[in-house]
Symmetry: C2
Subunit: 360 residues, 2 copies
């Protein structure tokens, strides 16, 4: 068990935004929400998945919707707690802990708020090891854990309790409800017992996010390269350096879809990279060739500070470095690639792990 202090929260929000691969929501908002509970004197306690008893109930907390809308909507900070408490009440069993479902600016931090407010620990794991746009895209899904029952709450006070027949139907129904809510829902879902947390989760992603954020901060303080620090911890690769020259972004069916076009600088002069996204970055295309694809992680970092730029903040003129990072092995199975491989997102290519691409 470790307790998060202010510095941990800030580091974690930064690191989570890098794992969020452009999605997962504004890390700054997430950070503010978590800091506000610390300021109220509440504690944020994180436990290792191995500390969760097999038959203890864990209920994750998250937000879903378009990040571009999330930044326009003011959360009272209590919606995500309401979603959690409604699902807890529906279950009628004692809850042992909460946890994140994805790593991302807002969704790594939401469970911290819930844990602190409800006096519960947060399990150091999640079901993606990065951010993904759809509810069925979790390693828990691969291990047969149902997404439902789930709750969806909006800032007005509407509550939906969803009991879909499978995780794909949960996504379909939750998506239209989220759109009708106005673009954002605060959710609680994938209630599960300790044995599934340990079997299905990607372990220690809160620690990883904190470590990434810390390494950037320390590198900047030491005037060394923060991007080298990130690549060191994640086993990632530099994909491209350049200047953003064009960003297309529209909200389609409740998702932020689009692409960013980057004109090469330095070693990449004369080349161009296009990064396409659906909330999260999906593929990085250099001069017409895919150089990194889902489920591997693609993040766009500020070239000077090493800080992540989420899709909703991509702007013309930013000097950026795109990096690619290997995904956790749980996603690299046939079952995993069926759910989050390039073909699911409409790209007619086989998945090639980034390490292989970089060797070749």
């Amino acid at each position: 068990m470790w307790e998060l202090d202010r510095q941990d929260v800030e580091d974690l929000a930064t690191g989570a935004a890098i794992l969020g691969t452009g999605g997962g929501g504004d890390p700054y908002l997430g950070k503010l929400m978590a800091l506000s509970v610390l300021e109220k004197g509440m504690k944020i306690e994180v436990i290792d998945p191995e500390e969760v008893p097999d038959d203890a109930l864990v209920i994750p907390s998250a937000a879903m919707g378009t990040p571009t809308v999330l930044i326009e909507k003011i959360s009272k900070g209590t919606e995500v707690v309401e979603a959690f408490e409604r699902l807890e009440k529906y279950f009628g069993q004692e809850v042992f802990a909460t946890m994140p479902l994805e790593s991302g600016g807002v969704n790594s931090v939401n469970p911290l708020t819930v844990g602190a407010r409800c006096g519960l620990p947060i399990v150091d794991t999640d079901g993606m090891g990065r951010a993904f746009p759809e509810l069925q895209m979790t390693t828990f899904n691969i291990y047969g854990v149902p997404c439902c029952p789930m709750t969806l709450v909006d800032e007005k006070g509407n509550v939906v309790l969803l009991d879909a027949i499978d995780n794909v139907w949960a996504e379909k129904l939750a998506r239209v409800i989220t759109i009708r809510y106005g673009g954002t829902a605060w959710i609680s879902l994938y209630p599960m017992y300790g044995r599934d947390v340990k079997r299905g989760g990607i372990p220690n992603t809160l620690t990883l996010a904190r470590d990434i954020g810390r390494s950037i901060r320390e590198a900047r303080a030491a005037k060394s390269d923060p991007i080298d620090a990130v690549l060191g911890i994640t086993g990632g690769f530099r994909l491209f350096e350049g200047k953003i020259v064009d960003v297309e972004r529209k909200t389609v069916a409740g998702f932020a879809r689009g692409e960013a076009r980057i004109e090469g600088l330095g070693d990449d002069s004369g080349s161009e990279m296009v990064v396409q996204f659906q909330n999260e970055n999906l593929v990085a295309i250099k001069d017409g060739d895919i150089v990194c694809s889902v489920p591997d992680l693609i993040s766009i970092l500020d070239a000077d500070t090493g800080l992540p730029i989420t899709t909703e903040y991509l702007r013309y003129g930013y000097r950026v470095i795109a990096i690619g990072m290997p995904i956790h092995e749980k996603w690299r199975t046939p079952e995993g690639l069926k759910v989050v491989g390039p073909r699911y997102f409409g790209y007619d290519i086989d998945y090639v792990p980034i390490e292989e691409r970089m060797r070749g």
Copy 2:
């Protein structure tokens, strides 16, 4: 308390389709569903609202969606029971009875199925006294009864439990869920106690529907005019006689919207009537002038048989008689007209009761 036999069910389905004013779903389907429970030896027992104790819980049963889709989807007949039982379980209190929320082909009959299958009586009342297209359009709403919690079930087995902040939000959220389900949802909603059933409902509409259906059947057997029989019971008026020459119908935002154009015959030769609908008939326009509008009832009947034709069965060439019937006084208040008056449906006119229009 009275028990419905096969003949009652058939009469009730016919009469309810007339009160359904073009909507409320195919009376034939509704009849088949109710007959099938009688054939299984179950009983359909109807009680007067005055027989419901003040503090007894009553949970209504219904279907929502586009009638044009409903006729294409095969119901197992158990979905509406599932919706009812899920809401009952959520409430955790003993249920005294079920009841209809609207008068209409399918929605007058759905509660009969639920009552028979669950061994509960059906209260002889509803919240519309006709059919209306949206959930907040009930007299219970005017009397402050919340629509939520409500359940929505589809034929695949998906279940949603909705707890919206008000009845308009219940409609908005239930509508997108119904559309995502594929166009039809089996629902249970407006759970309420006996005192609200008696205070807010339009009483004895099952009896009225049965009596209308019976009068048509008896008139036809006696070779007298079935339409006169209907007008006698309902206090209604002949609006127009003619032949359908055009029907426009499309599914918009989960509703069947459109209009039927009728060319005059007999006394109405040389005139034209247009009946516009949103699931239900909204206004009847004769030679450019509105002669009957919501919330008064407009039904289109087969000129020969007196049997109702719901909007989804309107076809070129049908010889029809359009009739108008006065709505229950509970809708004729300022509060009622705000919810179901012509302005709500986009017509910039004041409501004039049909009796006044016919006198003038």
